[in-house]
């Protein structure tokens, strides 16, 4: 079985939604993760805060950010176990993040520690 990372890209929820709406999203996210966990396929995950973010660039230039294209910002990730990329994609399709137009969930296979990667 392989491991995949599901990377969420979306806007800062605090800027586009009320605390009540965020509460609803949180709950939906919990249920979504719960449904993956119930299949014993959940490994772990985290949300990333939008406040106080920096990007360190070439020559150690530090900028606020990474807010180039707002919907392209990484807001969090989870890691799952799946037999195929299709199975991982099926998990991703359930993510509440995708309710937002323009938001994405990127599905990437995690490199095994096999000495090649």
């Amino acid at each position: 079985m392989d491991e995949f990372m599901l990377i969420f890209r979306h806007e800062d929820g605090n800027k586009v939604a009320s605390p009540e709406q965020i509460q609803i999203w949180m709950k939906q996210t919990m249920d979504w993760i719960g449904s993956i966990s119930a299949k014993n396929k959940f490994i772990g995950g985290n949300g990333l805060l939008f406040q106080d973010a920096r990007v360190v660039r070439h020559n150690n230039i530090v900028t606020n950010g990474p807010f180039g294209e707002i919907k392209e910002t990484i807001g969090g990730y989870i890691m799952v176990k799946a037999d195929t990329i299709e199975e991982a994609v099926a998990f991703a399709k359930g993510s509440p993040v995708l309710q937002g137009d323009g938001n994405t969930v990127e599905v990437r296979k995690i490199a095994q520690r096999d000495g090649i990667h």
């Binding site: 709950k27 919990m30 249920d31 993760i33 719960g34 449904s35 966990s37 119930a38 299949k39 014993n40 959940f42």
Partner: protein, 412 residues
């Protein structure tokens, strides 16, 4: 209480105390000698009390006799060491006879220290439970074998290996240093949790014994709560969990000893006192940032003490299972989560989720699906219940499914 019932009763309450104190004194390497002296003390009691009648204070009598036997043993050992075989000196601790201290304080301290010694990471959880039942709870090999649905020899060998391991590892009977307590406590409470489950979910027919296991687990946990150095949030959460479960002891079994399903229980038999104690310990458990699996399970167990079918209840329970599964997956939790999901979103969606669990070796997977299909597709319900029937091993479980099939108009 007359003499015939008194000795087994005292064995249950006093054996573990004497064995902890003597074991602590002799060291883990000689724990069997401590056990032998204890057993011998009770044998002497049975003989002497049978002939001479009960002493005025049986417990004090037991302590005195155990102490004398320990002193005699030590004298013989010393004689052997000094006169007969100075070259074969044993390296066990040398201590004074007056060190045999059977005061309440020392009994409690020794039991707590013994708990940490037994629940040592070097021995398997299964052996820890076995040794705890023997040394901390005073259950006989016979009783332990009955609860585990196995024979005497298996348990005897398991305990023997566990003791050998403790000896090899030179585990000392003491509390870990303060820095390590938190880590080591995890193992101790896991053993208590397994001990409780062994009683609560055992298939053994002996319901008194099963209940005793649960009460012993609660007593051990309470000892941890009472001691400031081990009174951690997770310990309180575990005690809360056990109180909530134990509150249904009287209701979950009929007068004839048959199990009674949760939905069919007479709630007036639920023990309100234990429920409120559970709530108290759950409150104590919220002292701190830590949310352990015991916290989540205790919260779920709290909701089981509320029979009302409110939306709030099932939404909360669903969320608790979501979080529990993230930390610790188990098929039971996955199935229970799906049941909570059904209560929140209804059968059609829950069936979709349930079928993805694919726990096709688990009878409860099929009985859950049967349940979910009952009002949607009778044929599928029957099909799933029949699959559950094939996989179930207990007679009671089979009867429950048979009844459900009959309700669906399907006579097997």
């Amino acid at each position: 209480m007359g003499e015939p019932e008194l000795i087994p009763h005292l064995f249950r309450t006093e054996y573990r105390k004497i064995v902890s104190v003597l074991g602590k004194l002799f060291g883990i390497g000689q724990i069997e000698i401590a056990e032998d002296i204890c057993s011998d003390t009770f044998l002497t009691a049975a003989q002497s009390w049978g002939i001479n009648g009960l002493p005025p204070n049986p417990t004090a009598w037991l302590y005195r006799v155990a102490k004398n036997k320990a002193i005699n043993y030590l004298r013989r050992e010393r004689l052997f060491e000094s006169k007969i075989s100075p070259a074969l000196r044993k390296d066990h601790a040398h201590f004074q006879e007056e060190d045999i201290d059977l005061s309440l304080q020392n009994i409690n301290d020794s039991q707590l220290q013994m708990m940490f010694a037994i629940c040592h990471p070097s021995i398997s959880p299964e052996s820890q439970v076995g040794l705890s039942l023997r040394l901390l709870c005073g259950f006989g090999i016979e009783e332990i074998a009955e609860a585990f649905l196995t024979n005497r020899e298996t348990i005897y060998k398991r305990l023997l290996r566990a003791r050998e391991k403790l000896r090899e590892e030179k585990i000392s009977i003491e509390l870990p240093p303060p820095k390590e307590i938190h880590k080591r406590l995890e193992m101790v409470i896991m053993t208590i949790y397994l001990l409780f489950n062994e009683g609560y979910y055992s298939l053994s027919q002996n319901s008194t014994l099963r209940k005793d296991f649960c009460l012993e687990a609660m007593r051990l946990c309470y000892m941890l709560v009472e001691n400031p150095s081990t009174n951690e949030p997770a310990v309180n959460a575990l005690l809360a969990l056990m109180c909530f479960h134990a509150s249904r002891f009287e209701a979950r079994e009929s007068k004839s000893g048959e199990p009674v399903l949760y939905d069919e229980q007479d709630t007036s038999l639920w023990n309100a006192d234990l429920i409120s104690r559970g709530a108290y310990f759950l409150h104590c458990a919220s002292n701190g940032d830590e949310i352990s699996t015991y916290h989540l399970e205790a919260n779920i167990a709290y909701w089981s003490t509320q029979k009302t079918d409110s939306r709030e209840k099932w939404e909360t329970v669903l969320e608790l299972y979501d979080r529990l599964l993230q930390i610790k997956y188990s098929p039971v939790a996955a199935l229970n989560r799906t049941f909570a999901l059904y209560k929140v979103v209804g059968a059609p969606l829950a069936i979709q989720e349930a079928e993805k669990l694919n726990l096709t070796h688990n009878p409860f997977y099929f009985s859950l699906l049967g349940e979910l299909y009952t009002n949607i597709d009778k044929d599928k319900a029957v099909e799933n219940f029949q699959k559950a029937l094939v996989l179930l091993s207990s007679d009671f479980g089979k009867q429950v499914i048979q009844r459900k099939l009959e309700k669906l108009g399907h006579l097997s």
